[in-house]
Symmetry: C2
Subunit: 220 residues, 2 copies
């Protein structure tokens, strides 16, 4: 096999495991979200805020991807018990097989919503289906207002896009209009929700989107 054939074969194998993950999660009635962004956009902070504000009868679990360290899992373990860190070594993204192993480590009968925090990377995670129901993409203001145009493979398939660190808007001179204009060319389906995990602005709108999604999936 040449390089292209191997990549195609790896992606095909990944898709098969992703389908099995999706089936397994649906059988348990679990909504799953794949959360992707550049390093430091605020994925873990978003999860801290989200888990703290979800209704008590909505039980969360988290799979956290990182090359090394268990720092994010430790942060989230302060809030909920079902957290598993997946270390990828030098791997640049989570794969469906890693998520399948992660699912084995959780008690899925006690989960309503599964958050999968991907490795911080705007390129490779986007090419790998993990079996999720929806893709949540974060873009933080300090990264610059040109990122939607530069990383279309991440933003095009997103189901919701969170524009984080809005508390820095005035200091940074970020152009939200430019982001909306770039998005209008590749993804008119996903809502763009400006938030700040620090000030709390916009989190109510994000939680409304999430609750609506939970209710829709439990009706299906």
């Amino acid at each position: 096999m040449n390089k292209v054939q191997v990549i195609e074969s790896v992606l095909k194998a990944n898709d098969a495991v992703a389908r099995a993950n999706r089936h397994r999660l649906h059988q348990q009635g679990i909504l799953s979200l794949n959360i992707m962004s550049a390093p430091g956009s605020g994925k873990t902070s978003l999860l801290e805020q989200t888990i703290s504000h979800l209704p008590h009868d909505c039980r969360s679990a988290v799979l956290v991807g990182d090359l090394q360290t268990s720092r994010d899992a430790e942060r989230l373990s302060r809030l909920i018990s079902q957290v598993t860190q997946i270390n990828t070594g030098s791997g640049c993204h989570l794969s469906a097989a890693m998520v399948a192993d992660g699912l084995d480590s959780l008690d899925l009968t006690q989960v309503d919503i599964l958050f999968i925090e991907n490795v911080g990377n705007m390129v490779c995670p986007a090419a790998h289906d993990l079996g999720e129901d929806a893709r949540v993409v974060l873009l933080s203001l300090p990264e610059g207002d040109d990122k939607v145009a530069k990383y279309p493979t991440l933003f095009q398939p997103a189901d919701v896009i969170l524009l984080n660190k809005m508390d820095l808007l005035e200091i940074l001179g970020f152009d939200c209009g430019s982001v909306r204009a770039d998005l209008s060319k590749i993804n008119t389906r996903a809502p763009l929700i400006p938030i700040s995990c620090r000030s709390g602005v916009g989190l109510d709108e994000w939680l409304r989107w999430l609750t609506n999604r939970i209710n829709t999936s439990s009706v299906e």
Copy 2:
């Protein structure tokens, strides 16, 4: 060949092209730097500041990697004529072969220093030698002070590390001591230079490092 064999074979082929690039650049007396970081850390802003402040007899050229768009190349073209944008499509890093093609597009007889701005990604670029003399790694404060521990494959082989967006230090509560402590475990060789491309702080120290490197390489 299985997946691991293909990856090893691809990296081996990349290394051979990287060696050829290095030889070609040295024959022309050109110092080359591979600049890597997460998306939005300020690589293009650093190049704008650096090119503007280099002595006039030090002629720069830039190869700029991005998935799509030529926005960074357009920004840099306002300062110098020898700028080539390399679009990787969905590729997550520059390869030595892409750099070899990029070199063909430049008049190397008119270049003293070549900056290679890699794709914004903290994982994959680190695994690929491009033929550079030195690796410059940027970390910007908004990304968080845990990134050295989380992405050791990027920071371990760095020759100089620039801590950018220092103008946001007070607002963000970033712990520089924590970064230094994590670095002391994996890389005690590279200087850590705090800078701000916005306020200009620290750029003199970076330019001193760069000028010293240029002088050292021309003596060799």
